[in-house]
Amino acid sequence: MARSGQILAYGVVLMEVMGGGEGDDPESGDEAAHGEDPSADGTVVRGQRGGFAYAENLAAKADGHEHDAEGEGYPGQHVTFVPYRGYEWEEEIGQNQRERGTQQARPRFRRKGEGMKLWRWLWLLVTLGVLAEGFRVALFVVPTDAAQGDVQRIFYYHIPSWAGMGLFFAINLVCSLLYLAVKNRNQVLALKADALAVASAEIGVVFCLIGLVTGSLWGRAVWGIWWTWDARLTSTLVLWLIYVAYLLLRRFAAGPQMRTLAAVMAIFGYLDVPLVYFSTRWWRTQHPAPVFGGAPGSGIDPSMMPAVWWNLAGWVMWGIFVASLRYVSEYRAQKAEQDEALRLLDVEPAGVAGAGR
């Protein structure tokens, strides 16, 4: 009974450790190589400290008694156990995975991890293809604007930047709300939402910066000035500064409340997005009137639309690609940070923790 409980616990933990949680990790195949094969034929299990601790804890519970500091793992193997009394959310993971059954978990995850890597490469290839086609159509296919000349073609990468910014700031808002909603109930989901919030805010800031720079270049050629403090430009600059401040807060604030503060700040920061969007409708601005969704007669010639669609698709796909990479790395860093914190809590002797107080 003791042995079967231990094996079950190892299965649960290895699914979590190798699987990177929920299978989001594109490098899961690499991760699988970090530890040795935990199959039931007696191979040594090494790797995640937290995983061991958790496995051992579950095994101890299954056995109905406390664990030893060291002991036998699978038949013929010696492993070092780290005493661990885990958090409730890890217990939830374990419970869910036990309910799902763990016997098939690891092989299924390995295939999934490889698929994710392939999927990401395919996505990048398609994205680069779409961007290349967008470049070709924008510069060499669509007609030149009669009034502005070739400088109007800036529009074909200026507009996608704003679209990308709007999309990723909206994702940031949703993730921030989700984080606040579930942070006390589902820590795993909360951390994922938080990681996606960071990733989307960063790429949103990048798109916003590109929009400001390319708009300024266009303004210099058409208006004769680099910048003017009209409602659209000013509200956009403020929006960029708000999200830069959001990222700085995340970078330099410490402590457990940082993520909550950042989520609240993101919600308030997003209030500027509709202000930016409607600024050219509510006030008279030097910025041109809305091209899409504006007054009757607004818009561009249909012969120019292919350049808009290709570039819009290409840059949004690029944003999704980069944000997905950033999300994975942020989530990994958070998990590693938590593992380290748990390890420190677990291995520190009680006498040392209380010493000097």
Partner: protein, 38 residues
Amino acid sequence: MDMGHRHLILGYAATLLIHLVYLSYVAVKWRAAKRAER
């Protein structure tokens, strides 16, 4: 080359440069996360 063409090219260059700089940052974070994980 007139100002329109120059600014069009500058805009493309700035767009690519900013994206590449950010991509480098993402790569650094990716590696750091993998190191921390190990």
